[in-house]
Symmetry: C2
Subunit: 346 residues, 2 copies
Amino acid sequence: MRIARDKAAAPNQGAGERANERATIQQVAEHAGVSIGTVSRVLNRRPGVSPTTMRRVQASIAHLSYRPDHAARTLSKAPLHIGLSLAADTRRLTPFFMLFLEHLIGRLQREGFRFEEVPARSDGLPAWLPNGVILHGAHEDDPRLRYLEGQGVPFVLVGRSAGARWVAPDDHAGGLHATRHLLALGHEEILHLGGLMSHQAFQDRYGGYLEALAEAGIAPKREWLLDGSFTILGGYRVVRRAFEGGCRCSAIFAASDEMALGAIAALEDLGLRVPLDVSVVGFDDLPEISNGLNVPEGLTTVRQDIAHIADTAVTLLVEGLQGLPVRSETVPIQLVARGTTARRRE
Amino acid sequence: MRIARDKAAAPNQGAGERANERATIQQVAEHAGVSIGTVSRVLNRRPGVSPTTMRRVQASIAHLSYRPDHAARTLSKAPLHIGLSLAADTRRLTPFFMLFLEHLIGRLQREGFRFEEVPARSDGLPAWLPNGVILHGAHEDDPRLRYLEGQGVPFVLVGRSAGARWVAPDDHAGGLHATRHLLALGHEEILHLGGLMSHQAFQDRYGGYLEALAEAGIAPKREWLLDGSFTILGGYRVVRRAFEGGCRCSAIFAASDEMALGAIAALEDLGLRVPLDVSVVGFDDLPEISNGLNVPEGLTTVRQDIAHIADTAVTLLVEGLQGLPVRSETVPIQLVARGTTARRRE
DNA sequence: GCGAAGTCCGTAAGCGCTTACGCACAGCGG
DNA sequence: CCGCTGTGCGTAAGCGCTTACGGACTTCGC
């Protein structure tokens, strides 16, 4: 499959900016009247460039709408391969996960890392050793962790885990704030729509919920805990069944936006109005969900800063590559009050 | 953020395969006792390598678990930038779309293309001109198409469209075969669970359904056409409402697996058994859906060969880059009969 | 037995970028 | 006025690949 690039168009034009062709660093340099080394320094914010020159270069970059080529940048940066390893059970293409991946890949590209998903050999160990690894959804006793440790390869986990570098959102605080919000609105009987309690994160959300209830002096009832298995349909069915079965709760804290969406649909189908009759709080803050709702103001939910989580994962990994001591980070969450929660009716 | 690679480990070792470090073409060449040029020829299946040498090189590749570096390969291949442009309304991260993208990216990477999503300028036109473009979900009167044509940039559309290069699955045949399958099982009153009829593809699926009914001499009733807006929840609600409203149909042809899933859940909740009481056929064949079902044999559905579609998109684009005449391709679909369809109970 | 035509393979340039190195010039103290 | 330090910048090597080119053999016809 050979493809000849149309060279005849501009026989000997050097770097005279061909209309609309993507600009290279060379062209930027010529346009600005400096060398490519200087342009590169500006791009990477490295010292040794006078303010005047820097401004000129930046103007040229803007003028040519130049954007550095990922492939070339990757090739010349430090030859570090970083591996992505995604737990099989998270490979479920949930919107949340896809967004995370998008941010992660973006950051790695911008940073000039060479990265690839690491294929597993038949014995479950990686086929080749990257210089650093980001793991998503690994359990603490995952054999891969021991292996990486043994090989001296730094890694960071997405999700809380003892004795390793990790990033995780503050799931506990999320559950806490969501529930407090409902309590503050006068609700007392509050369902928790959760599931997958083998995951630490989801246990934590539930833990926050329990703590908030305890603060308010409310003893949680056994039947308030619903398992929606983190799907829209799961949320719908379990909530519908609960309310058909005579549940009198006036609020729901769902551990994911998907389940919240299902819950709201179920309530609607039963003739209950959200938020007039029942308030609902979600978790994640996925715009997809909030926009798809027919509550004009959108879903009240707990926002996770996905970009921040992805960013921190990379930062921690870089620390590991530099040999800095192990450090972990909990990224804060934020309650976003919108249209699906209201003061409890009378 | 400077990171020193540990060079002290093997001071003057040349290309002696460092344990587990990722191999380069150089190391493969030394291991096989040939030059890197020859290794490259083997990798790219280019002629001019004797069978003996080829085997030796392949053995070395396997032994070192060598995999060519994307970045380097991209950089040295023909300098063609191909742009990806994804219609805003398809940016909905549906499983189907994500899979498509995964295949597309894989193929482009293997092929050594440089590709990037093309950002739009404020006036809606692309910020820079790639050498070729793949568009997903563009309407025929999309201004971008005119623009690309005017600039002489070849493009291919995913989805049928007059007068341009396009690839699309045979949606009509899909609808036809799915419905024929149900008819052959003795069903006569068959619902169509569709939606989004502004899309040609979904109209076509419906068209296939109508044609099959016509063949069988059945006049479709108005109330057999349901709008599930291509979501699980949409499918659930509309089907539930239909059957609660006295629908006596014994089969459903859903235009997506998601809607089929919703439909099945709704039927279950109403105490109807699938496939004993009602047969259901989906569309797409997403393993995610079929596995999540509690019908042991999985969902009967129409399979779209996503990899083939992505592949063809690239092939057609390459043809465009080579200046070959415009050509389009319909990729065949296939009915996969599994556990959600059965002969109509007398 | 010698030149021509093949076959197979090594060599080196180059893709677009980063960065170590080193040069030119300014400003300083003596 | 000379050398010295320092700042700002150009230069060139090299990242891991692909591929045009040409060289070393082999094989064939005469």
